[in-house]
Protein backbone atom coordinates (compact mmCIF):
# COMPACT_ATOMS: atom_id res chain seq x y z
CA UNK A 1 0.00 0.00 0.00
CA UNK A 2 1.30 3.35 -0.97
CA UNK A 3 0.71 5.98 1.57
CA UNK A 4 1.89 9.37 0.75
CA UNK A 5 3.01 11.78 3.32
CA UNK A 6 0.25 13.94 4.54
CA UNK A 7 0.75 17.33 3.02
CA UNK A 8 -2.06 19.40 4.26
CA UNK A 9 -1.92 23.07 3.72
CA UNK A 10 -3.30 24.35 6.92
CA UNK A 11 -4.87 27.65 6.39
CA UNK A 12 -3.72 29.65 9.28
CA UNK A 13 -7.17 30.12 10.60
CA UNK A 14 -9.23 29.47 7.52
CA UNK A 15 -10.83 32.81 6.89
CA UNK A 16 -13.62 33.58 9.23
CA UNK A 17 -16.09 35.56 7.22
CA UNK A 18 -17.40 38.75 8.66
CA UNK A 19 -20.81 37.78 7.40
CA UNK A 20 -22.00 34.42 6.25
CA UNK A 21 -23.96 34.99 3.09
CA UNK A 22 -21.86 35.15 -0.09
CA UNK A 23 -19.61 37.56 -1.91
CA UNK A 24 -21.12 37.74 -5.39
CA UNK A 25 -18.60 37.68 -8.25
CA UNK A 26 -15.05 37.02 -7.07
CA UNK A 27 -11.94 37.21 -9.23
CA UNK A 28 -11.87 37.90 -12.92
CA UNK A 29 -14.97 37.07 -14.90
CA UNK A 30 -13.01 36.33 -18.07
CA UNK A 31 -10.73 33.80 -16.43
CA UNK A 32 -11.43 30.11 -15.93
CA UNK A 33 -12.71 29.04 -12.56
CA UNK A 34 -9.81 28.30 -10.20
CA UNK A 35 -10.63 25.65 -7.66
CA UNK A 36 -9.16 23.77 -4.73
CA UNK A 37 -10.52 21.03 -2.50
CA UNK A 38 -11.35 22.04 1.06
CA UNK A 39 -11.85 19.36 3.71
CA UNK A 40 -13.56 19.89 7.03
CA UNK A 41 -12.26 18.14 10.09
CA UNK A 42 -14.14 16.69 13.03
CA UNK A 43 -13.26 19.75 15.08
CA UNK A 44 -14.81 22.10 12.58
CA UNK A 45 -11.56 23.36 11.15
CA UNK A 46 -11.01 23.43 7.42
CA UNK A 47 -7.94 22.75 5.32
CA UNK A 48 -7.11 23.19 1.69
CA UNK A 49 -6.07 19.69 0.77
CA UNK A 50 -3.00 18.64 -1.16
CA UNK A 51 -2.27 15.11 -2.37
CA UNK A 52 -1.92 12.78 0.58
CA UNK A 53 -4.15 14.83 2.86
CA UNK A 54 -5.93 13.14 5.72
CA UNK A 55 -9.69 13.18 5.20
CA UNK A 56 -11.80 12.94 8.33
CA UNK A 57 -14.55 10.32 8.51
CA UNK A 58 -17.25 12.07 10.53
CA UNK A 59 -20.53 10.81 11.91
CA UNK A 60 -23.29 13.28 11.03
CA UNK A 61 -26.55 13.48 12.96
CA UNK A 62 -28.36 10.98 10.78
CA UNK A 63 -25.73 8.28 11.21
CA UNK A 64 -23.23 6.70 8.87
CA UNK A 65 -19.90 8.33 8.15
CA UNK A 66 -19.25 11.12 5.69
CA UNK A 67 -16.31 13.00 4.25
CA UNK A 68 -17.10 16.71 4.23
CA UNK A 69 -15.67 18.18 1.05
CA UNK A 70 -16.01 21.71 -0.22
CA UNK A 71 -14.09 24.15 -2.35
CA UNK A 72 -12.14 27.34 -2.40
CA UNK A 73 -12.66 29.15 -5.67
CA UNK A 74 -11.99 32.22 -7.73
CA UNK A 75 -13.34 33.68 -10.94
CA UNK A 76 -16.97 32.76 -10.37
CA UNK A 77 -20.12 33.99 -8.69
CA UNK A 78 -20.01 32.78 -5.11
CA UNK A 79 -23.74 32.83 -4.42
CA UNK A 80 -25.62 29.55 -4.80
CA UNK A 81 -22.75 27.57 -6.28
CA UNK A 82 -23.81 24.06 -7.23
CA UNK A 83 -21.21 21.69 -5.82
CA UNK A 84 -20.76 18.02 -6.68
CA UNK A 85 -18.15 16.17 -4.64
CA UNK A 86 -17.18 12.53 -4.96
CA UNK A 87 -14.92 9.96 -3.36
CA UNK A 88 -13.50 7.62 -5.98
CA UNK A 89 -11.93 4.24 -5.35
CA UNK A 90 -9.25 3.96 -8.00
CA UNK A 91 -9.22 0.19 -7.62
CA UNK A 92 -12.70 -0.07 -9.06
CA UNK A 93 -13.24 3.45 -10.41
CA UNK A 94 -16.55 3.55 -8.51
CA UNK A 95 -17.61 6.68 -6.65
CA UNK A 96 -19.92 7.85 -3.92
CA UNK A 97 -21.01 11.42 -4.40
CA UNK A 98 -23.20 14.17 -3.10
CA UNK A 99 -24.31 17.47 -4.56
CA UNK A 100 -25.83 20.64 -3.14
CA UNK A 101 -25.83 24.43 -3.45
CA UNK A 102 -23.30 26.24 -1.27
CA UNK A 103 -22.36 29.83 -0.65
CA UNK A 104 -18.77 31.04 -0.63
CA UNK A 105 -17.30 34.17 0.82
CA UNK A 106 -14.11 35.89 -0.17
CA UNK A 107 -11.16 36.08 2.20
CA UNK A 108 -8.17 38.35 2.35
CA UNK A 109 -6.18 36.05 0.07
CA UNK A 110 -8.63 36.60 -2.78
CA UNK A 111 -10.08 33.09 -2.66
CA UNK A 112 -13.69 32.39 -1.75
CA UNK A 113 -14.23 29.76 0.95
CA UNK A 114 -17.25 28.05 2.51
CA UNK A 115 -19.32 30.84 3.97
CA UNK A 116 -20.01 29.10 7.27
CA UNK A 117 -17.26 26.50 7.59
CA UNK A 118 -18.40 25.26 10.95
CA UNK A 119 -21.68 24.05 9.46
CA UNK A 120 -22.08 20.64 7.86
CA UNK A 121 -24.33 21.98 5.14
CA UNK A 122 -21.57 24.15 3.69
CA UNK A 123 -19.88 21.02 2.38
CA UNK A 124 -20.90 18.04 0.33
CA UNK A 125 -21.69 15.31 2.83
CA UNK A 126 -20.24 12.37 0.91
CA UNK A 127 -21.67 9.26 2.51
CA UNK A 128 -19.05 6.52 2.43
CA UNK A 129 -20.00 4.29 5.36
CA UNK A 130 -21.61 1.85 5.98
CA UNK A 131 -19.15 0.53 3.41
CA UNK A 132 -21.44 -2.18 2.11
CA UNK A 133 -20.29 -2.04 -1.50
CA UNK A 134 -16.61 -1.22 -0.99
CA UNK A 135 -13.94 -3.78 -1.78
CA UNK A 136 -11.40 -2.26 0.61
CA UNK A 137 -11.43 -0.34 3.85
CA UNK A 138 -12.39 3.31 3.75
CA UNK A 139 -9.65 4.25 6.22
CA UNK A 140 -5.90 4.05 5.86
CA UNK A 141 -6.14 3.68 2.09
CA UNK A 142 -5.79 6.25 -0.67
CA UNK A 143 -8.92 7.54 -2.38
CA UNK A 144 -9.48 10.43 -4.72
CA UNK A 145 -11.76 13.33 -3.81
CA UNK A 146 -13.17 15.04 -6.89
CA UNK A 147 -15.07 18.32 -6.80
CA UNK A 148 -16.85 20.24 -9.51
CA UNK A 149 -18.79 23.48 -9.34
CA UNK A 150 -21.23 25.36 -11.52
CA UNK A 151 -22.11 28.92 -10.65
CA UNK A 152 -25.40 30.59 -11.46
CA UNK A 153 -23.95 31.87 -14.74
CA UNK A 154 -23.03 28.38 -15.83
CA UNK A 155 -19.30 28.75 -15.27
CA UNK A 156 -17.78 25.44 -14.33
CA UNK A 157 -14.61 24.20 -12.73
CA UNK A 158 -13.25 21.00 -11.27
CA UNK A 159 -10.40 19.78 -9.11
CA UNK A 160 -9.27 16.60 -7.41
CA UNK A 161 -6.87 15.45 -4.77
CA UNK A 162 -5.70 12.13 -3.37
CA UNK A 163 -6.60 11.69 0.29
CA UNK A 164 -6.29 9.07 2.99
CA UNK A 165 -9.49 8.89 5.06
CA UNK A 166 -9.23 8.20 8.76
CA UNK A 167 -11.64 7.69 11.64
CA UNK A 168 -11.56 11.14 13.13
CA UNK A 169 -13.80 10.89 16.16
CA UNK A 170 -12.52 8.88 19.13
CA UNK A 171 -16.03 8.42 20.46
CA UNK A 172 -17.00 6.67 17.22
CA UNK A 173 -13.69 4.92 16.54
CA UNK A 174 -14.91 1.36 17.03
CA UNK A 175 -18.03 1.88 14.98
CA UNK A 176 -16.04 3.65 12.27
CA UNK A 177 -13.46 0.89 12.03
CA UNK A 178 -16.27 -1.64 11.74
CA UNK A 179 -18.76 0.02 9.42
CA UNK A 180 -16.07 1.51 7.16
CA UNK A 181 -14.34 -1.85 6.68
CA UNK A 182 -14.60 -3.48 3.29
CA UNK A 183 -17.83 -5.36 2.60
CA UNK A 184 -19.43 -4.43 5.89
CA UNK A 185 -22.74 -6.25 6.32
CA UNK A 186 -25.40 -3.77 7.36
CA UNK A 187 -26.45 -4.28 10.97
CA UNK A 188 -23.74 -6.81 11.79
CA UNK A 189 -22.22 -6.55 15.23
CA UNK A 190 -19.46 -4.05 15.80
CA UNK A 191 -18.63 -5.38 19.25
CA UNK A 192 -15.17 -6.43 18.15
CA UNK A 193 -12.95 -4.45 15.87
CA UNK A 194 -12.42 -6.38 12.66
CA UNK A 195 -9.04 -7.01 11.16
CA UNK A 196 -8.19 -4.21 8.83
CA UNK A 197 -7.22 -6.68 6.15
CA UNK A 198 -4.58 -6.20 3.53
CA UNK A 199 -4.20 -2.86 1.85
CA UNK A 200 -4.19 -2.05 -1.81
CA UNK A 201 -6.50 -3.17 -4.55
CA UNK A 202 -7.96 -6.62 -4.04
CA UNK A 203 -7.05 -9.17 -6.69
CA UNK A 204 -9.43 -9.19 -9.58
CA UNK A 205 -10.43 -5.54 -9.40
CA UNK A 206 -9.64 -3.56 -12.47
CA UNK A 207 -7.37 -1.00 -10.98
CA UNK A 208 -7.21 2.32 -12.73
CA UNK A 209 -5.02 3.96 -10.17
CA UNK A 210 -2.92 6.60 -11.75
Amino acid sequence: MLLRLLLVLLLAGCPSPANTTCSGPVGEAGQPVALGVVLRGADGTTTVAADGAAAALIQPPQGGKVILAGVRARNLDTCGVNLIAAVRDLCTNRVQLEGRPVNLIVADDGWAYPAAPAELDNFANIGVCPNVSGVRNLYGEPYRVEVSVTDKNGKQGSASVMVVPFCAEPEHALDCACTCAARYVLGSSCAARPDAGPGGCPPGDAGVRD
Partner: protein, 349 residues
Protein backbone atom coordinates in the same frame (compact mmCIF):
# COMPACT_ATOMS: atom_id res chain seq x y z
CA UNK B 1 -51.45 -20.31 12.92
CA UNK B 2 -52.34 -16.68 13.21
CA UNK B 3 -50.07 -14.30 15.02
CA UNK B 4 -51.41 -11.09 16.39
CA UNK B 5 -49.38 -8.41 17.99
CA UNK B 6 -51.90 -7.15 20.49
CA UNK B 7 -50.55 -3.78 21.24
CA UNK B 8 -51.28 -0.95 23.52
CA UNK B 9 -52.02 -3.37 26.34
CA UNK B 10 -48.40 -3.98 27.14
CA UNK B 11 -46.88 -0.66 26.28
CA UNK B 12 -44.77 0.85 29.00
CA UNK B 13 -45.15 4.23 27.39
CA UNK B 14 -48.05 6.61 27.00
CA UNK B 15 -50.58 4.86 24.85
CA UNK B 16 -52.80 6.64 22.40
CA UNK B 17 -56.42 6.59 23.36
CA UNK B 18 -58.42 3.84 21.72
CA UNK B 19 -61.32 5.13 19.74
CA UNK B 20 -63.56 4.49 16.81
CA UNK B 21 -63.06 5.93 13.35
CA UNK B 22 -65.41 8.73 12.48
CA UNK B 23 -68.42 7.99 10.37
CA UNK B 24 -67.57 8.30 6.71
CA UNK B 25 -64.15 6.75 7.06
CA UNK B 26 -63.97 3.06 6.51
CA UNK B 27 -61.61 1.63 9.09
CA UNK B 28 -58.74 -0.56 8.01
CA UNK B 29 -58.54 -4.11 9.19
CA UNK B 30 -56.30 -7.13 9.10
CA UNK B 31 -56.86 -9.71 6.43
CA UNK B 32 -58.90 -12.58 7.90
CA UNK B 33 -57.61 -14.91 5.20
CA UNK B 34 -53.99 -14.50 6.27
CA UNK B 35 -53.92 -17.62 8.38
CA UNK B 36 -50.30 -18.63 7.97
CA UNK B 37 -48.40 -15.38 8.06
CA UNK B 38 -47.91 -12.56 10.51
CA UNK B 39 -50.23 -9.76 11.53
CA UNK B 40 -49.74 -6.52 13.42
CA UNK B 41 -51.97 -3.59 14.16
CA UNK B 42 -51.86 -0.46 16.23
CA UNK B 43 -54.77 0.53 18.38
CA UNK B 44 -57.18 3.05 16.92
CA UNK B 45 -56.17 6.40 18.34
CA UNK B 46 -56.60 10.11 17.91
CA UNK B 47 -54.02 12.70 16.95
CA UNK B 48 -54.95 16.09 18.40
CA UNK B 49 -55.05 19.09 16.12
CA UNK B 50 -51.64 20.67 15.72
CA UNK B 51 -49.82 17.48 16.73
CA UNK B 52 -47.54 14.95 15.06
CA UNK B 53 -47.18 11.52 16.62
CA UNK B 54 -44.37 9.22 15.62
CA UNK B 55 -44.59 5.91 17.41
CA UNK B 56 -42.08 3.07 17.30
CA UNK B 57 -43.67 -0.32 17.88
CA UNK B 58 -41.43 -3.29 18.60
CA UNK B 59 -42.50 -6.75 17.55
CA UNK B 60 -40.86 -10.17 17.38
CA UNK B 61 -41.32 -12.35 14.36
CA UNK B 62 -42.97 -15.64 15.30
CA UNK B 63 -41.63 -19.13 14.84
CA UNK B 64 -43.45 -20.25 11.73
CA UNK B 65 -41.05 -22.93 10.56
CA UNK B 66 -40.00 -25.13 13.47
CA UNK B 67 -37.14 -22.89 14.47
CA UNK B 68 -35.89 -22.31 10.95
CA UNK B 69 -35.90 -19.15 8.87
CA UNK B 70 -38.84 -18.56 6.59
CA UNK B 71 -39.91 -16.19 3.84
CA UNK B 72 -42.68 -13.66 3.22
CA UNK B 73 -43.62 -12.59 -0.30
CA UNK B 74 -46.62 -10.33 0.14
CA UNK B 75 -47.07 -7.27 2.32
CA UNK B 76 -50.35 -5.51 2.93
CA UNK B 77 -50.26 -2.22 4.82
CA UNK B 78 -53.47 -0.40 5.62
CA UNK B 79 -53.70 3.05 7.18
CA UNK B 80 -56.39 5.58 7.86
CA UNK B 81 -55.73 8.96 6.23
CA UNK B 82 -53.23 11.24 7.94
CA UNK B 83 -50.40 8.79 8.09
CA UNK B 84 -47.21 10.44 6.93
CA UNK B 85 -45.36 7.17 6.74
CA UNK B 86 -45.19 3.61 7.97
CA UNK B 87 -41.66 2.19 7.94
CA UNK B 88 -40.68 -1.28 9.07
CA UNK B 89 -37.06 -1.97 10.01
CA UNK B 90 -35.08 -4.93 11.36
CA UNK B 91 -33.72 -3.95 14.77
CA UNK B 92 -29.92 -4.11 14.94
CA UNK B 93 -27.54 -1.93 16.96
CA UNK B 94 -29.30 -0.34 19.90
CA UNK B 95 -28.36 3.28 20.48
CA UNK B 96 -31.09 4.97 22.50
CA UNK B 97 -34.23 3.36 21.09
CA UNK B 98 -35.47 -0.07 22.06
CA UNK B 99 -38.47 -1.86 23.46
CA UNK B 100 -39.64 -5.30 24.39
CA UNK B 101 -41.76 -7.03 21.77
CA UNK B 102 -45.28 -5.72 22.02
CA UNK B 103 -44.32 -2.35 23.42
CA UNK B 104 -44.25 1.08 21.89
CA UNK B 105 -42.04 4.13 22.28
CA UNK B 106 -44.17 7.20 21.76
CA UNK B 107 -42.82 10.20 19.89
CA UNK B 108 -44.33 13.64 20.20
CA UNK B 109 -41.43 16.01 20.89
CA UNK B 110 -38.70 15.67 18.26
CA UNK B 111 -36.19 17.39 20.54
CA UNK B 112 -36.38 14.71 23.18
CA UNK B 113 -38.27 11.65 21.99
CA UNK B 114 -36.08 8.85 20.67
CA UNK B 115 -38.56 7.63 18.08
CA UNK B 116 -37.89 10.86 16.16
CA UNK B 117 -34.10 10.52 16.11
CA UNK B 118 -32.92 8.78 12.96
CA UNK B 119 -29.48 8.06 14.35
CA UNK B 120 -31.18 5.41 16.46
CA UNK B 121 -31.92 3.21 13.46
CA UNK B 122 -29.07 4.09 11.13
CA UNK B 123 -27.98 0.46 10.72
CA UNK B 124 -31.44 -1.10 10.85
CA UNK B 125 -32.20 -2.59 7.44
CA UNK B 126 -35.46 -1.55 5.86
CA UNK B 127 -38.13 -4.23 5.46
CA UNK B 128 -41.06 -2.40 3.87
CA UNK B 129 -42.53 1.09 3.82
CA UNK B 130 -45.73 2.83 2.81
CA UNK B 131 -46.70 6.46 2.43
CA UNK B 132 -50.21 5.74 1.25
CA UNK B 133 -52.74 8.00 2.92
CA UNK B 134 -55.90 7.79 0.90
CA UNK B 135 -59.39 7.28 2.28
CA UNK B 136 -60.55 5.80 -1.01
CA UNK B 137 -57.65 3.38 -1.19
CA UNK B 138 -56.23 2.86 2.27
CA UNK B 139 -54.33 -0.36 1.53
CA UNK B 140 -50.95 -0.83 -0.04
CA UNK B 141 -50.93 -4.46 -1.11
CA UNK B 142 -47.60 -5.56 -2.53
CA UNK B 143 -46.97 -8.96 -4.07
CA UNK B 144 -43.27 -9.53 -4.63
CA UNK B 145 -42.17 -10.94 -7.98
CA UNK B 146 -42.36 -14.70 -8.35
CA UNK B 147 -39.81 -16.61 -6.29
CA UNK B 148 -38.59 -13.44 -4.54
CA UNK B 149 -39.20 -13.01 -0.82
CA UNK B 150 -38.07 -11.37 2.40
CA UNK B 151 -36.31 -13.71 4.82
CA UNK B 152 -37.04 -13.68 8.56
CA UNK B 153 -35.80 -15.58 11.58
CA UNK B 154 -37.93 -16.75 14.50
CA UNK B 155 -37.77 -14.15 17.23
CA UNK B 156 -36.22 -11.51 14.97
CA UNK B 157 -37.15 -8.10 16.29
CA UNK B 158 -38.71 -5.53 14.00
CA UNK B 159 -39.64 -1.91 14.56
CA UNK B 160 -42.83 -0.59 12.98
CA UNK B 161 -42.66 3.18 12.87
CA UNK B 162 -45.94 5.01 12.39
CA UNK B 163 -46.01 8.76 11.80
CA UNK B 164 -49.35 10.58 11.88
CA UNK B 165 -49.73 14.31 11.28
CA UNK B 166 -52.72 16.47 12.17
CA UNK B 167 -51.46 19.96 11.42
CA UNK B 168 -51.51 22.52 8.65
CA UNK B 169 -49.56 20.73 5.89
CA UNK B 170 -51.23 17.37 6.48
CA UNK B 171 -54.21 16.41 8.55
CA UNK B 172 -55.76 13.38 10.12
CA UNK B 173 -59.46 13.83 9.49
CA UNK B 174 -60.56 10.83 11.51
CA UNK B 175 -58.64 8.55 13.82
CA UNK B 176 -55.30 6.88 13.32
CA UNK B 177 -54.98 3.18 12.70
CA UNK B 178 -52.42 1.01 10.90
CA UNK B 179 -52.60 -2.68 10.05
CA UNK B 180 -49.87 -4.88 8.59
CA UNK B 181 -50.19 -8.36 7.07
CA UNK B 182 -47.20 -10.40 5.97
CA UNK B 183 -47.87 -13.54 3.98
CA UNK B 184 -45.79 -16.73 3.93
CA UNK B 185 -44.06 -17.63 0.72
CA UNK B 186 -44.73 -21.11 -0.57
CA UNK B 187 -41.68 -21.10 -2.83
CA UNK B 188 -39.21 -23.88 -2.14
CA UNK B 189 -36.07 -21.78 -2.47
CA UNK B 190 -36.90 -18.10 -2.89
CA UNK B 191 -34.41 -15.47 -3.97
CA UNK B 192 -33.90 -13.05 -1.13
CA UNK B 193 -35.17 -9.48 -1.48
CA UNK B 194 -32.76 -6.68 -0.62
CA UNK B 195 -33.60 -3.16 0.43
CA UNK B 196 -31.87 0.18 -0.01
CA UNK B 197 -32.57 3.13 2.28
CA UNK B 198 -30.78 6.36 1.50
CA UNK B 199 -31.00 9.86 2.88
CA UNK B 200 -29.42 13.18 2.08
CA UNK B 201 -27.50 14.53 5.04
CA UNK B 202 -27.59 18.14 6.23
CA UNK B 203 -30.07 19.49 3.73
CA UNK B 204 -31.01 23.15 3.95
CA UNK B 205 -33.82 24.98 2.16
CA UNK B 206 -33.50 28.69 2.84
CA UNK B 207 -35.40 31.84 2.18
CA UNK B 208 -32.35 33.39 0.49
CA UNK B 209 -31.80 30.39 -1.79
CA UNK B 210 -35.34 29.16 -2.26
CA UNK B 211 -34.98 26.54 -5.00
CA UNK B 212 -32.13 24.17 -4.12
CA UNK B 213 -31.57 20.72 -5.54
CA UNK B 214 -29.69 18.01 -3.66
CA UNK B 215 -28.06 15.00 -5.31
CA UNK B 216 -27.18 11.65 -3.78
CA UNK B 217 -25.92 8.32 -5.02
CA UNK B 218 -25.97 4.77 -3.75
CA UNK B 219 -24.04 1.76 -5.04
CA UNK B 220 -25.30 -1.78 -5.29
CA UNK B 221 -23.00 -4.55 -4.15
CA UNK B 222 -22.73 -5.97 -7.63
CA UNK B 223 -24.04 -5.67 -11.12
CA UNK B 224 -27.06 -7.62 -12.28
CA UNK B 225 -29.45 -6.09 -9.78
CA UNK B 226 -33.18 -6.22 -10.43
CA UNK B 227 -35.06 -3.21 -9.11
CA UNK B 228 -38.48 -4.23 -7.86
CA UNK B 229 -39.95 -1.04 -6.41
CA UNK B 230 -39.04 2.48 -5.31
CA UNK B 231 -40.49 5.50 -3.63
CA UNK B 232 -39.18 8.87 -2.54
CA UNK B 233 -39.96 10.89 0.54
CA UNK B 234 -39.82 14.57 1.35
CA UNK B 235 -42.08 17.13 2.99
CA UNK B 236 -44.22 19.95 1.63
CA UNK B 237 -41.32 22.04 0.27
CA UNK B 238 -40.40 19.14 -1.99
CA UNK B 239 -41.42 19.69 -5.59
CA UNK B 240 -39.65 16.93 -7.50
CA UNK B 241 -38.08 13.64 -6.49
CA UNK B 242 -36.25 11.77 -9.25
CA UNK B 243 -34.24 8.55 -9.34
CA UNK B 244 -31.93 7.49 -12.17
CA UNK B 245 -30.04 4.40 -13.11
CA UNK B 246 -26.40 5.33 -12.73
CA UNK B 247 -23.14 3.69 -13.76
CA UNK B 248 -21.49 4.19 -10.39
CA UNK B 249 -18.60 5.97 -12.06
CA UNK B 250 -19.84 9.24 -13.59
CA UNK B 251 -20.04 12.42 -11.55
CA UNK B 252 -22.54 14.15 -13.79
CA UNK B 253 -26.28 13.68 -13.48
CA UNK B 254 -27.51 10.81 -15.67
CA UNK B 255 -29.56 11.75 -18.74
CA UNK B 256 -33.36 11.95 -18.52
CA UNK B 257 -33.65 8.62 -20.31
CA UNK B 258 -32.10 6.96 -17.27
CA UNK B 259 -34.78 8.22 -14.92
CA UNK B 260 -37.01 5.45 -13.60
CA UNK B 261 -38.83 7.18 -10.77
CA UNK B 262 -40.35 10.61 -10.45
CA UNK B 263 -42.76 12.07 -7.96
CA UNK B 264 -44.05 15.55 -7.35
CA UNK B 265 -46.61 14.59 -4.72
CA UNK B 266 -44.97 15.06 -1.38
CA UNK B 267 -47.99 13.95 0.67
CA UNK B 268 -48.80 10.80 -1.29
CA UNK B 269 -45.73 9.89 -3.34
CA UNK B 270 -46.02 7.09 -5.78
CA UNK B 271 -44.74 3.70 -4.69
CA UNK B 272 -43.71 2.52 -8.10
CA UNK B 273 -43.65 -1.22 -8.61
CA UNK B 274 -41.70 -2.34 -11.66
CA UNK B 275 -43.30 -5.15 -13.59
CA UNK B 276 -41.32 -6.51 -15.23
CA UNK B 277 -38.51 -5.68 -12.89
CA UNK B 278 -35.95 -3.11 -13.93
CA UNK B 279 -32.64 -4.73 -14.74
CA UNK B 280 -29.62 -2.77 -13.66
CA UNK B 281 -26.31 -4.03 -14.91
CA UNK B 282 -24.30 -0.99 -14.03
CA UNK B 283 -24.29 -0.71 -10.32
CA UNK B 284 -26.08 2.16 -8.70
CA UNK B 285 -28.74 4.82 -8.46
CA UNK B 286 -28.59 8.60 -8.46
CA UNK B 287 -31.42 10.56 -6.90
CA UNK B 288 -32.31 14.22 -6.69
CA UNK B 289 -34.60 16.24 -4.49
CA UNK B 290 -35.69 19.64 -5.71
CA UNK B 291 -37.24 21.97 -3.14
CA UNK B 292 -39.10 25.26 -3.19
CA UNK B 293 -38.93 27.32 -0.02
CA UNK B 294 -42.31 28.48 1.28
CA UNK B 295 -43.13 30.63 4.27
CA UNK B 296 -43.90 28.44 7.25
CA UNK B 297 -47.36 28.48 8.72
CA UNK B 298 -47.60 31.12 11.45
CA UNK B 299 -49.87 28.79 13.36
CA UNK B 300 -47.00 26.29 13.47
CA UNK B 301 -44.62 28.89 14.82
CA UNK B 302 -43.52 30.53 11.57
CA UNK B 303 -39.86 31.20 10.95
CA UNK B 304 -39.13 31.18 14.65
CA UNK B 305 -40.03 27.50 14.80
CA UNK B 306 -38.05 26.75 11.65
CA UNK B 307 -35.02 28.65 12.91
CA UNK B 308 -35.23 26.90 16.25
CA UNK B 309 -34.61 23.59 14.52
CA UNK B 310 -31.68 24.91 12.49
CA UNK B 311 -28.34 23.91 14.02
CA UNK B 312 -26.58 26.64 12.08
CA UNK B 313 -25.76 29.95 13.64
CA UNK B 314 -26.98 31.55 10.42
CA UNK B 315 -30.74 32.00 10.71
CA UNK B 316 -32.39 32.37 7.33
CA UNK B 317 -35.68 30.58 7.94
CA UNK B 318 -34.03 27.42 6.58
CA UNK B 319 -35.82 24.12 6.68
CA UNK B 320 -33.21 21.56 7.71
CA UNK B 321 -33.19 17.79 8.00
CA UNK B 322 -35.76 16.47 10.41
CA UNK B 323 -38.88 14.41 10.87
CA UNK B 324 -41.33 17.18 11.73
CA UNK B 325 -43.44 17.82 8.67
CA UNK B 326 -44.30 21.40 9.58
CA UNK B 327 -40.82 22.70 10.21
CA UNK B 328 -38.22 20.38 8.65
CA UNK B 329 -37.46 18.45 5.48
CA UNK B 330 -36.36 15.08 4.26
CA UNK B 331 -34.86 13.68 1.08
CA UNK B 332 -35.10 9.92 1.49
CA UNK B 333 -35.11 7.07 -1.00
CA UNK B 334 -36.65 3.66 -0.39
CA UNK B 335 -35.77 1.03 -2.98
CA UNK B 336 -36.28 -2.72 -3.22
CA UNK B 337 -34.19 -5.09 -5.33
CA UNK B 338 -32.97 -8.63 -5.72
CA UNK B 339 -30.87 -10.59 -5.28
CA UNK B 340 -29.54 -9.48 -1.94
CA UNK B 341 -25.75 -9.89 -2.16
CA UNK B 342 -23.49 -11.04 0.67
CA UNK B 343 -26.41 -11.05 3.11
CA UNK B 344 -26.44 -7.27 3.29
CA UNK B 345 -29.07 -4.68 2.69
CA UNK B 346 -27.85 -1.22 1.78
CA UNK B 347 -28.00 2.18 3.37
CA UNK B 348 -26.47 5.35 1.99
CA UNK B 349 -26.29 8.29 4.38
Amino acid sequence: MRWFALLGLVSACPSPSPGTPDAGFRDVSLDPTNATGYQFQTPVYTVPEGKEYQDCWFVAMPDLNAGQDYYMDRFRLGALPGTHHVNVFRVKTIVHLDGAPGTMVHGEDPRTDECFKSGNWSDWPLVVNSQQSDAANPYYDWHLPGNVAHRFSPGEKLMVQVHYVNASTQDTPANAHVVLDMYRSQAAAPVELGTLFATEQSIRICQSNPNPTFHGTCLFNSGGTNIVAANGHFHSRGVSFSVYQWDGVSTTQPPPASMFYSSDHWDHPDMHIYSPVLNDATGGVWWTCEFQWMPPDPAAGGCDAVNARDPSTVKDCCYTFGPVVETSEHCNLFLYYYPKVAASDITCF
